[in-house]
């Protein structure tokens, strides 16, 4: 198991600027606002993934995952302003493939308005993703979200969120391009079109996501939530761009303050950009996830959980159709 490897950080200065800004904001919050206790979460888990690369030719592997999260909340005693900073880390080790990890850092600020019924907020998050198995996936991302939650009544909460994301990929990306004349490093011929393998030095994506959420509190232990979302991804690689829309249903049941069961079902339609000469691609994705957890000790400081997730992707392009089942169990510590 190799936790870190040396990378050529093309955006390292930006990463350092972000860290510096977050540190400055933290110090500012510490100076002007009282702080709540630090929330620390540690999660250790392991499981089996029957399609690690989300491919029509699946490669399966056991894996272990180590996650940590630190959250510092701030609040103002003179106003309804709340804020928080978080730093999350996740490392995943596939036993039959190479590992990957994610670093996330960000902050959020929100304000209680309309006698407490409306809570608008803003969230910033920067993400660093490293993948030894698929280096072309390595990227750095920046997200800014504006959101608002509205307490309609004691049983119903509505939410709206708009997110803008920027993903800068670090390594050269190889993709297939259809041309009539044929050019590039590797060439072939399919259905009268020349197929060329093209390597581009950089890839940049911009993502816009709109999300609407409805949460119904059915009883003290049962919460149902429906989320609709629309995503638009623009990429420097034409064939990567898409429009997607989807629905997510989530039901969470807490029993005796000790057991938690949740069922999540999701459907998503992804319509990729039509590129001249290239077969059009559209995907229909369905997934279901069931999680059962058992908490121990007061205030739910420790939990054991088991989770099963099944995902099925049907694509108009045969090679892009696949399904995946992930079974995972683990421990969660909350401090």
């Amino acid at each position: 198991m190799r936790l870190f490897k040396k990378h050529n950080f093309r955006s390292q200065p930006l990463w350092m600027i972000v860290l510096s800004l977050l540190t400055a904001i933290s110090l500012l919050f510490l100076w002007i606002m009282p702080v709540a206790a630090l929330d620390i979460d540690l999660q250790l888990s392991g499981g089996y993934d029957d399609n690690t690369s989300l491919s029509s030719e699946p490669e399966e592997s056991w894996f272990s995952r180590y996650q940590s999260s630190v959250f510092q909340q701030f609040h103002s005693e003179t106003s309804s302003l709340r804020g928080g900073l978080f730093f999350d880390f996740s490392y995943q080790d596939y036993f039959s493939a190479s590992d990957n990890y994610i670093l996330e850092a960000g902050g959020t600020a929100r304000l209680l308005t309309a006698a407490g019924h409306l809570q608008p907020g803003i969230l910033y998050r920067t993400t660093l993703y490293r993948d030894e198995e698929n280096p072309e996936d390595e990227m750095m991302g920046h997200d800014v979200s504006l959101y608002a939650e509205y307490l309609v009544n004691a049983r119903l909460t509505l939410g709206l969120q708009q997110t803008w994301s920027r993903h800068d990929y670090h390594n050269p990306v190889e993709y297939i391009e259809y041309t009539s004349s044929g050019s590039g490093q590797g060439q072939g011929n399919t259905g009268g079109n020349q197929v060329a393998s093209v390597i581009v030095e950089s890839r940049d994506d911009n993502v816009i996501e709109t999300q609407c959420q409805c949460t119904v509190f059915l009883n003290p232990n049962l919460t149902a939530r429906a989320t609709g979302h629309y995503n638009r991804l623009s990429s420097s690689i034409d064939t990567e761009a898409y429009n997607a829309k989807g629905l997510i249903f989530d039901l969470s049941w807490v029993h005796n303050d000790r057991w938690e069961t949740s069922i999540t079902g999701a459907v998503r339609e992804t319509d990729f950009e039509r590129v001249s000469g290239t077969p059009h691609r559209s995907d229909n994705t369905e997934s279901v996830r069931i999680m059962v957890g058992r908490y121990f000790f007061s205030k739910r400081k420790f939990a054991v959980f088991v989770e099963i997730e099944y995902l099925d992707n049907n694509s108009s392009i045969e090679d892009e159709s696949y399904h995946r089942t992930v079974t995972e169990c683990g421990l969660l510590f909350q401090f």
């Binding site: 698929n134 996936d137 307490l151 049983r155 049962l222 919460t223 807490v254």
Partner: protein, 140 residues
């Protein structure tokens, strides 16, 4: 997906009957006595109309409702000035006091995730190996 829908309907059918057994209140906390197990809440919304709540006059309403809870059970993120969602029942002794069996921060969509950390942990699955694999035709 039919299986999923069937499971969800069955799940709701089993669990929803208990939904009306308790009153639900939404309000803003003005003061908390952690050791005494009491807090004063300005009630904004009562999902289930109740004789006790309707008997309270406007003066009492402005002062807030006394909510009783078991000491030591209050979630750490419930603070003065914050919105709370209460499940329980009015005491029925004419005092207008409310005995809360469950107290949640109103902006915790799921009671076990007050900081949103678990939601973020789950979201990471979308960043796992392969999810951002090449989308171009012929990509693996």
């Amino acid at each position: 997906m039919r299986t999923l829908v069937s499971i969800l309907i069955l799940f709701l059918w089993i669990l929803i009957p208990g939904a009306e057994a308790m009153d639900t209140l939404l309000g803003r906390v003005t003061s908390i006595d952690h050791e005494g197990g009491e807090m004063i809440v300005n009630i904004d919304d009562t999902s289930v109309p109740h004789e006790e709540s309707s008997r309270k006059d406007s003066t009492d309403a402005r002062k807030g409702t006394k909510v009783l809870f078991t000491p030591g059970t209050l979630p750490t993120h419930v603070k003065e000035g914050g919105m709370v969602r209460l499940w329980g029942e009015y005491m029925g002794d004419g005092s207008g006091n409310f005995r809360a069996q469950h107290v949640y921060h109103a902006y915790d969509n799921v009671g076990n995730d007050p900081t949103g950390v678990r939601s973020r942990l789950r979201k990471r699955r979308g960043m796992e190996k392969g999810i951002q694999k090449r989308r171009g035709l012929g990509g693996r």
